[in-house]
């Protein structure tokens, strides 16, 4: 097989195409070397977590209005929590390149922690099939986090 690739131009082309394609598909989070780079990554993280929080809010609403089945709500709540946690963990691993970036990161991470905590609470309620009972406090927390993330995305996204 290897000798076929070595001797065959078509084979070399196929291997090169495969390598380029796989490289293109890989989304390794690299280090942020400038403030702009860090800000772009922060904006992208805020967008992902905002999406997870909004999905969770919609899940809560469907449960409260008895518009969905418990397993579906539980899956949606778990996946939102996983998405939020994944984005937060990835962002935490990025070293801020300067003080300004560090301040930005600290501000976002506070919101991300609030979001993670609220997403976990929604998942717990969904697993206990408690979404039919309104929880105004949790809804307010999610609404607040949504506003903060939305503002962050508008400012830095």
């Amino acid at each position: 097989m290897l000798s076929w690739v070595r001797e065959n131009r078509l084979g070399q082309f196929a291997v090169a195409a495969l390598v380029i394609t796989l490289a293109a598909c890989t989304q390794i989070v690299g280090p942020a070397r400038t403030y702009q780079d860090y800000e772009r990554k922060a904006g992208s993280t805020a967008k992902s977590v905002l999406s997870a929080v909004q999905t969770s809010r919609l899940t809560l609403r469907l449960g409260r209005q008895d518009k969905s089945f418990a397993p579906y709500l539980s899956v949606m709540a778990s996946e939102s929590e996983d998405t939020g946690a994944g984005a937060t963990a990835t962002f935490s691993g990025i070293q801020p390149p300067d003080d300004r970036a560090e301040a930005l990161g600290t501000r976002l991470e506070k919101t991300l922690q609030e979001a993670s905590s609220a997403l976990t609470d929604v998942r717990v309620r969904a697993r206990r099939t408690q979404l039919g009972t309104p929880d105004p406090k949790l809804e307010r927390r999610l609404a607040k986090v949504t506003r903060q993330l939305d503002a962050f995305v508008k400012e830095h996204g």
Binding site: I20, A24, Q27, L50, L62, M76, E79
Partner: protein, 409 residues
């Protein structure tokens, strides 16, 4: 009456067959991110699959030869081998995504992790291919896929601002916060999802298996020209639902379950149940088609005996390839690779490989020795040539766009 029933079933099957996990994910993700501004890419793709699916069905009915058989004859063994490698790889990625899609549909109704469902779904796919008749297989999953009509009902129930939706679709523009490269990357994803090569491999091989003749050409046309546009209508409905419900909230679709949220919001439990049945049928139907396509392409390239209707003892290598494809897809699926990401890559990469599949079909459809009086007419050739140019352009720009946009990130 029997003929009418056959035609109706064929159309319904085409509707169900058009939708697969690629169309579901692409339409929903694009709607949530770009609104209706990429509807043109979906319509362009549907036009392409209409032209080439009809052509491949006609070629198969008149010449009795399926698409991949012609690919080898027209491109030569070397080029056809490269084509086989690319087509098989993309088809295989699609198979992984479809098998995982079935498992995710089951997860949505059971709350049991889809990884636990995967072995069962792979086994079911193989058992259905092994034991169930072709016609039963097509009709059952095609008809179940019609449950997705609920998507159109959900759009209507949400009472959207129709003029705004129409304006978004008819005045395409790059939405703020997105670059041109990302916009066109997703346009290619929609185009690739509509024109996935396995559709013509399956369609033409199925036509040969069912022994289509010139007398079936009318039915072929009706199935394609009614069924596929109706399927596209469902994809547009999914895009509209994402535009109405998900886009304003900033929700991006990276899980299959999110695609069901808007219909659930509009129609409640009934809507959700029908959407999940539709997702199950669409992914199961496509898993059957991609599994069989794996066997069809390899067997037709090497000149082995092939066919679902041929006894396994007589087409052992064909059935072995199908079984191996399902087994390896299962193993890769069990590594917890993200099925939505696999879907996205498969539809975009399929766009890059389109010319290898569609060029030979066009050449043979113009060959009087094979086609007799059923060769392409001038208008058909003009449209097909236009699409061939589009396909070539798409194939050239796909990989660079994938690199520049980091796969649409």
């Amino acid at each position: 009456m029997k003929k009418l029933l056959g035609v109706t079933l064929g159309v319904l099957t085409a509707v169900g067959g058009f939708m697969d996990i690629g169309d579901i994910v692409a339409s929903s993700a694009v709607g949530a991110r770009f609104g209706m501004s990429l509807a043109w890419a979906l319509l362009l793709g549907v036009g392409g699959i209409l032209v080439y699916a009809e052509m491949s069905g006609r070629v198969a009915a008149v010449s009795g030869r399926p698409t991949f058989d012609l690919v080898r004859e027209r491109l030569g063994a070397r080029m056809a081998l490269a084509n086989l490698g690319a087509s098989f790889f993309i088809n295989f990625l699609t198979l992984i995504a479809e098998v995982a899609g079935i498992a995710i549909a089951l997860q949505l109704v059971s709350d049991v992790n889809y990884l636990l469902w995967l072995p069962l779904t792979a086994l079911l796919v193989w058992v259905v291919i092994w034991r169930v008749k072709f016609s039963v297989m097509e009709n059952v999953f095609g008809l179940m896929g019609l449950a997705l009509i609920v998507l159109a009902v959900a759009v209507w129930k949400l009472s959207p601002d129709w003029s705004s939706l129409w304006h978004g679709a008819s005045h395409p523009k790059v939405v703020s916060g997105e670059g041109h490269a990302t916009y066109f990357y997703y346009a290619i994803a929609l185009f690739g999802a509509a024109m996935t090569p396995y559709e013509v491999f399956f369609f033409s091989s199925g036509a040969v298996e069912e022994k289509w003749t010139k007398r079936d050409l009318g039915e072929n046309k009706i199935n394609v020209f009614l069924g596929f546009p109706l399927g596209a209508f469902l994809s547009l409905s999914l895009m509209a639902l994402a535009t109405i419900v998900l886009e304003p909230r900033g929700i991006s679709v990276d899980k299959l379950g999110q695609a069901a949220l808007p219909a659930t919001l509009a129609l409640g439990k009934v809507g959700l149940a029908l959407v999940i049945v539709g997702f199950f049928a669409a992914t199961f139907g496509a898993a059957l088609e991609t599994s069989l396509s794996a066997g069809y392409t390899v067997a037709q390239f090497f000149g082995w005996q092939w066919g679902k209707l041929v006894r396994p003892r007589d087409a052992a290598r064909f059935h072995l390839v199908v079984l191996a494809a399902i087994a390896v897809a299962l193993m890769i699926g069990l590594t917890a690779v993200d099925p939505v990401k696999v879907t996205e890559y498969s539809i975009v990469l399929s766009a890059a490989a389109l010319p290898l599949t569609y060029l030979p079909i066009l050449i043979v459809a113009n060959d009087r020795d094979y086609m007799g009086d059923k060769v392409n007419r001038r208008f058909g050739n003009a449209v097909a040539s236009f699409y061939l140019v589009v396909i070539f352009v798409v194939a050239i720009v796909t990989i660079p766009l994938m690199i520049v946009t980091k796969a649409g990130a």
